[in-house]
């Protein structure tokens, strides 16, 4: 009888647990550090546009699983194959999955932690609890989470100013032309941006810049990326470098221990050593880890994909953006457009789209299938809105 233990009850851990149960495994223990059932993390920065609802429990059937909430693991005894919980309990395992996620990166100039950060439901409650209409907010960091929060705080009636250390918004992973569209949309709703900003220190309700200027605000939020939760893995002697190192099957340096989601840096067949920080990656790696724990030998090959919402605009992207690649642009009827990236052999490598709501979703999904198939695509064909991507896929098949 195989005992499966999963540390972390976010998307990756949940999906793995449910997949193991669905495969007929009878002894699956899921350990979650928070004192509540799992919830949808994307909704924390992308609340419902009408109601502002940001707490959405994940509807997963937990029947047949042993779920332990409000307790975390403090150690792994690899010799005897047991996880030691902070309460002292020992959980014996045959297969262990680490789905420990990540924590928000703290600003070096804010050691006291004046700036709020967003990762958990409690974080979101703290931020939105101070998001009073008519108030002012400073967002440090013009990444996806920072700008999603800027849109939501604006929707709640705040005056929002974004401070970014880099020369532009969304500098990691989003093409500059698409980032420009998103920034313009924010400006149209009154959000202001300062780039190449150096912050000296964060104080209570204010930010002091390197040039001495002080900016006051009712709410200061820092959104400057995440760091993988590797403490448990490091203390157990597992190989870690910017995440828990796993091979293409999600196996760590210990063949009985696996890792998936935000915490895992995978040897991806297409990209090499990469750590993905997206919702879908957590879902897909969680499901894949379950198969690997049951002995399946397949590599995890899924392409990275994400979406991000900004007021009425939706961004979707698939593949990893590389600004040095040749690109092609396709304009869509509703004002949205798609940007494709090709390698020197005209093989599609990445695509991103921006448009009203979910209007680019279908084409980005088709682009994903084209990338998966290694399809050759003439830039002229990609740029022609009269030529359906589905027809290109049929040619490629």
């Amino acid at each position: 009888m195989t005992h499966h233990v999963i540390i972390g009850a976010g998307e990756a851990g949940l999906r793995a647990a449910a997949a193991l149960r669905d495969a007929g495994e009878r002894h699956v223990t899921l350990v979650g550090g928070e004192h509540m059932p799992s919830y949808d993390r994307p909704a924390l920065s992308k609340p419902d546009g009408e109601t502002g609802l940001f707490h959405r429990p994940i509807a997963v059937d937990l029947a047949g699983l042993e779920v332990v909430l409000g307790r975390t693991a403090k150690g792994i005894d690899r010799e005897t194959k047991a996880v030691i919980l902070t309460t002292g309990e020992r959980l014996a395992y045959d297969r262990l999955l680490l789905a420990t996620g990540a924590r928000p990166r703290r600003l070096a100039c804010d050691p006291a932690g004046h700036a709020l950060m967003l990762r958990t439901l409690g974080d979101a409650e703290a931020i939105y609890g101070k998001a009073d209409a008519g108030g002012s907010a400073i967002l440090v960091g013009a990444g996806l989470i920072g700008l999603e929060l800027a849109a939501e705080l604006t929707r709640r009636g705040m005056t929002v100013r974004v401070l970014e250390a880099g020369p532009r918004a969304l500098g990691r992973g989003v093409p500059a032309e698409i980032a420009d569209v998103i920034v313009s949309r924010h400006r149209r709703s009154g959000v202001t941006f300062d780039f190449d900003v150096r912050i000296e220190r964060v104080e209570h309700k204010s930010v002091v810049l390197a040039d001495g200027a002080r900016i006051e605000a009712d709410l200061v939020v820092a959104a400057v990326g995440i760091e993988p939760e590797v403490g448990l893995a490091v203390s157990a002697g597992l190989a870690c470098a910017n995440g828990i190192e796993v091979n293409s099957r999600l196996v760590t340096s210990d063949p009985s221990i696996f890792a998936a989601g935000d915490c895992a840096v995978i040897d991806h067949p297409r990209y090499g050593r990469t750590r993905f920080e997206t919702w879908r990656n957590a879902c897909d790696q969680g499901a894949h880890a379950a198969k690997a724990m049951l002995g399946e030998a397949a590599s995890f090959e899924t392409l990275p994909w994400f979406w991000s919402d900004h007021f009425d605009l939706g961004l979707q992207a698939v593949g990893l953006h590389d600004p040095s690649r040749r690109s092609a642009r396709r304009d869509l009827a509703d004002g949205g457009w798609l940007r494709f990236e090709l390698d020197e052999n005209h093989v599609l490598q990445a695509a991103a789209g921006i448009g009203p709501g979910t209007s680019v979703a279908r084409d980005i999904r088709l682009a994903e299938k084209l990338i998966e198939r290694g399809a050759f695509c003439a830039p002229e064909a990609l740029a022609d809105p009269g030529l359906g991507l589905k027809s290109l896929l049929k040619v490629a098949a």
């Binding site: 879908r280 979703a361 999904r365």
Partner: protein, 103 residues
Amino acid sequence: MGTWTRACATDDVELEDLLRFDHGGRSFLVIRSPEDEFFCIDGICTHERVHLADGLVMDGIIECPKHNAHFDYKTGEATRAPACINLKSWPVKVENGDVFVEI
């Protein structure tokens, strides 16, 4: 028994594609299979309140444009997480070039 309601002309929907059809405050999708059969399912994803009309229709599946949930468009069955509740499917008939749905 519901009422047979005209949704669209058959020519309004391309092969392996969909058309959103709103009726009585409710959203539906009329989907035409590659085999030229017509189906009708609810137009809002059962996972969140996302309109499925921007989703991809392919290989017998309609995919949610936001969270990649899959539904069998012939039956409405949810076949991939995060959706776990089936979409309601509605009877369809084609008469004289028009698609009717029994709502």
